[in-house]
């Protein structure tokens, strides 16, 4: 209610609950700290200003917000200035920073779960990350990895099923 009424308390609660998950996703997509910070701000702005359009019957609030964050971040990666700056950035380097930050994450839930992620088969995790964090469509993954579309779908599904086992 506090969010629907656009009260400050609602925004604070929203930020405290979801900022690290959303920042994690944005960071993984753009692989750039400053850019991720700006995009997190954009994300919260859009969440806040279009909250009326969230329909709870169509899914969870988290999913809705994650999709906003992913779309904003993925749009950025497809923009011209991103491709320009990406040339000068060493993505592998950023990935290392990322892992380090992830280790230092204050999110207590994440700590026990990491081992379980490790159980994801590499080919499943790769496809999941491509879709989830890099905004590849299934068709694009199929093309990029040169594997049939059906296989992409199967592997993605299996990856998600593995994740489901984590919390079941």
């Amino acid at each position: 209610m506090a969010i629907r009424n656009k009260e400050k308390a609602g925004a604070e609660a929203l930020y405290d609950m979801y900022s690290s998950s959303l920042y994690g996703i944005i960071f993984r997509v753009v692989q750039h700290e400053e850019m991720a910070e700006d995009l997190l701000q954009d994300t919260f702005l859009r969440i806040w200003n279009s909250f009326e359009s969230y329909d709870s019957s169509k899914g969870r609030l988290f999913t809705w917000m994650v999709n906003i964050a992913r779309n904003i971040a993925i749009d950025k990666t497809r923009s011209k200035d991103f491709r320009n700056s990406a040339k000068t950035e060493d993505i592998e380097n950023n990935a290392l920073t990322l892992n380090k930050q992830s280790d230092n994450s204050l999110n207590p839930e994440a700590i026990g779960l990491r081992e379980l992620v490790a159980k994801l088969k590499p080919e499943q995790k790769m496809i999941l990350d491509m879709v989830y964090f890099r905004g590849f469509t299934h068709a694009e993954v199929s093309e990029e990895l040169d594997i049939p579309l059906g296989t992409v779908k199967t592997r993605l599904r299996k990856a998600i099923i593995s994740l489901r086992k984590v919390f079941n």
Binding site: I25, G59, F62, N107, T154
Partner: protein, 269 residues
């Protein structure tokens, strides 16, 4: 749907949750989700899986970002916003009220001044009218008195046989004075003839008083002035068994006993 299981396994639900479906496909799936609770359950499971994955990949953003982002949002906090709205509305209201009040005040002052002027005019008119009324009233009283005196005179002439006439002569104090008194013993009436009245002028503090001498004692018959407009006869108090009449000068209104020093006229029957 016969092939619900294969539909679930086709990976469409995952695409839906990931936002990787066209709006047509989305719409179709939402329709199925309403029809088949299994689809809804499956969607929830996929959502939860991806939520878990997102949480596993969570990274805390820098502390400074929290305030920056929160301050960039627009809030409609009741307390602040509504108070502001209300106060500005009230401010508007007060502005207009103040202007209206000033106009009213100005108009009121003008009408008060006008009314005051009219009121003063009215007072003047009233004073003039009152003076007029007083004058008329005095005149009416005077006419009334004159009429009464004239009636008395008429009465006297009509019943002359019943009256004894007594002429009072002036004393040493007023040798020129004279007064005609008509006395009707039957009716015990006493009148003085104003037309032939001759007495020294009396001032405002004094009046002449007529006395009847009854068995050697003075009896008050009333007061009169030397100068009167009327030319009729003035009716005095009634008396019987009179032997003589006398006039003294007394304080205005008359006295209980005559002031013998101021005996002005006297006459016996």
């Amino acid at each position: 749907m016969k092939d619900l299981k294969s539909y679930l396994e086709r990976g469409i639900l995952e695409q839906y949750v990931l936002g990787d479906l066209s709006s047509e496909e989305q719409f179709e799936l939402e329709k199925y989700a309403l029809l088949y609770p299994e689809i809804k359950t499956e969607l929830l499971q996929i959502e939860l899986a991806l939520i878990t994955y997102a949480k596993m990949n969570a990274i805390s953003p820098p502390e400074k970002l929290r305030n920056k982002i929160l301050n960039g949002l627009e809030f409609k906090d009741k307390k602040v916003q509504k108070l502001f709205d209300r106060s500005s509305k009230w401010l508007q209201f007060y502005k207009y009220s103040l202007a209206a009040s000033l106009v009213l005040l100005f108009m009121s002052i003008i009408s008060v001044i006008n009314l005051n002027k009219k009121l003063n005019d009215s007072y003047e008119q009233i004073a003039i009218l009152e003076t007029g009324i007083q004058r008329f009233s005095n005149q009416v009283n005077s006419f009334d008195q004159e009429l009464t005196d004239a009636r008395n005179a008429l009465y006297f002439y009509q019943n002359q046989a019943d009256f004894k006439l007594v002429t009072l002569r002036g004393s040493e104090k007023a040798p020129e004075a004279s007064l005609l008194v008509a006395f009707n013993p039957k009716e015990e009436e006493v009148m003085i003839d104003l037309s032939s009245l001759k007495m020294p002028s009396n001032d405002k503090e004094h009046q002449y008083q007529l006395w009847a001498m009854v068995d050697g004692k003075p009896v008050d018959l009333g007061v009169f002035d030397s100068e009167v407009d009327s030319t009729g006869m003035k009716k005095m108090k009634s008396v019987k068994n009179v032997q003589a009449f006398a006039v003294t000068l007394e304080l205005r209104g008359g006295s209980a006993n005559p002031n013998m020093d101021q005996m002005m006229a006297i006459g016996s029957i």
